[in-house]
């Protein structure tokens, strides 16, 4: 039984047809004698009615075939079959690994290309420019001094001023063998060349002097004083004169 005067909750329950039949009748009698409350209840009823009417159209949308339950069920099954297939492949790989894993590893690893990391660094920092520099040459800063903090007795930075290139910024990088660094040179036209220095790799060790190009970049590389070095520049740019060390 509701008590009179009705609480606001009772009024809402009345609007939402959630009162017991007996309570509903009691409330209706009471409302008839209280026109101000009845007006408010009527306004709520009207809002609900208008809302039902204006949202009614949303039920009449043209069907979307992607939402068909049978189709969705099929997609779910396909997906789980793929998961099983992946799991099966992994299982085969693991059992192969017991016997031939080591040889397989040797066979599948591509031979390391010299200074691939130097070229990758150039792409990331000089071409895409997505990371800030660790060190910028401004107002007489000394790039060589910065580099010497990390690499003892390494070869001096190449002097490329004859070709118009001066050092502008430096980045520290890591390799599996330890710290590496890239120094970026720029000329008046905004063209860029990098000098890259890293510890010798495990497989490639020290490098014979050489050069190679890949994916639009050219690299000269050599070893000395305990480190490997590379000079990287875009292939469409005249290469700096072969450096002498």
């Amino acid at each position: 039984m509701i008590s009179l005067p009705p609480s606001e909750r009772d009024l809402h329950a009345y609007v939402d047809h959630q009162l017991l039949e007996s309570d509903r009748r009691v409330l209706e009698t009471w409302l008839a004698a209280h026109p101000d409350v009845a007006a408010q209840v009527h306004a709520w009823q009207q809002d609900a009615q208008l809302l039902r009417a204006s949202l009614g159209g949303a039920l009449q949308q043209p069907a979307n075939p992607d939402l068909d339950p049978a189709l969705i069920r099929q997609r779910i099954q396909q997906r789980s079959r793929r998961h099983w297939a992946t799991a099966a492949v992994l299982l085969v790989a693991v059992s192969l690994g017991g016997v031939g894993g080591w040889q397989a590893r040797e066979a599948t690893q591509p031979p390391l290309l010299p200074m691939a990391d130097a070229m990758q660094a150039f792409r990331l920092f000089a071409q895409d420019g997505i990371m800030p520099a660790d060190y910028n040459v401004q107002d007489g800063g000394n790039m060589q001094a910065w580099l010497d903090r990390y690499f003892n007795q390494a070869h001096r930075l190449p002097d490329l001023s004859a070709a118009g290139f001066t050092p502008v910024s430096g980045r520290l990088l890591t390799t599996e063998q330890g710290a590496a660094a890239m120094v970026l040179y720029q000329d008046a036209q905004g063209r860029r060349i990098s000098f890259y220095i890293r510890p010798p790799g495990p497989e490639n060790g020290f490098l014979p002097r050489g050069s190679r190009s890949a994916d639009g970049l050219q690299a000269q590389y050599w070893s000395g004083a305990g480190y490997n070095y590379a000079v990287v520049s875009p292939a469409d740019q005249p290469a700096p004169p072969m450096l002498k060390f």
């Binding site: 909750r9 609900a48 809302l51 949303a58």
Partner: protein, 168 residues
């Protein structure tokens, strides 16, 4: 033919309507319905066979919407952090006086829209709504009361700025 599919098929129009009222965008609404159906189909076996399928589906859809909404907002904040600006425009719609009940409805917050749709349009019981929102029935009733008042005020244009009112 699966028994659930028939029930789902019948309820799809209602799910789509609910999804549109949450997302305010037909195509993301259908994405929402699709992921709701996927979840319903995979979870059907675990569902306790009591209660209304419709209320169960509404609750899945509502949860999915809230999760997606949270992710989007986190993404927006991240974007703001990286680009240093806020892409979310101040909502013009909030200051506009509603011309119709539907416009007033669209200006309510997510939970108020869901509540009014469940109760006034779909006719779910307070108890079912309480289960969806995982709150007591009394809380549902007081939130519903607030949602109704808000809808009333927006429909009447009472939300119009008070300073304008005082000029009259």
């Amino acid at each position: 033919m699966h028994a659930l599919d028939e029930q789902l098929r019948e309820l799809i129009p209602r799910l789509r309507r609910f999804a549109v009222s949450l997302t305010r965008n037909a195509s993301s609404a259908d994405d929402l319905v699709q992921s709701t159906l996927e979840r319903a189909i995979t979870r059907w076996a675990d569902k306790r066979l009591e209660g209304d399928v419709r209320a169960w589906l509404f609750s899945i859809l509502y949860r999915q919407f809230l999760d997606a909404h949270r992710r989007t907002r986190r993404y927006a904040r991240m974007l703001e952090f990286f680009t240093g600006r806020d892409d979310a425009q101040p909502s013009v719609e909030r200051t506009v006086i509603a011309q119709s009940t539907l416009q007033a409805f669209d200006q309510l917050n997510t939970e108020q829209r869901a509540l009014l749709l469940w109760v006034s349009v779909e006719g779910l019981s307070y108890k079912e709504v309480a289960e969806i929102l995982e709150v007591p029935v009394g809380t549902v009733m007081s939130r519903l009361s607030r949602a109704r008042q808000a809808l009333r005020q927006l429909s009447d244009g009472e939300i119009a700025s008070p300073s304008l009112r005082r000029l009259k």
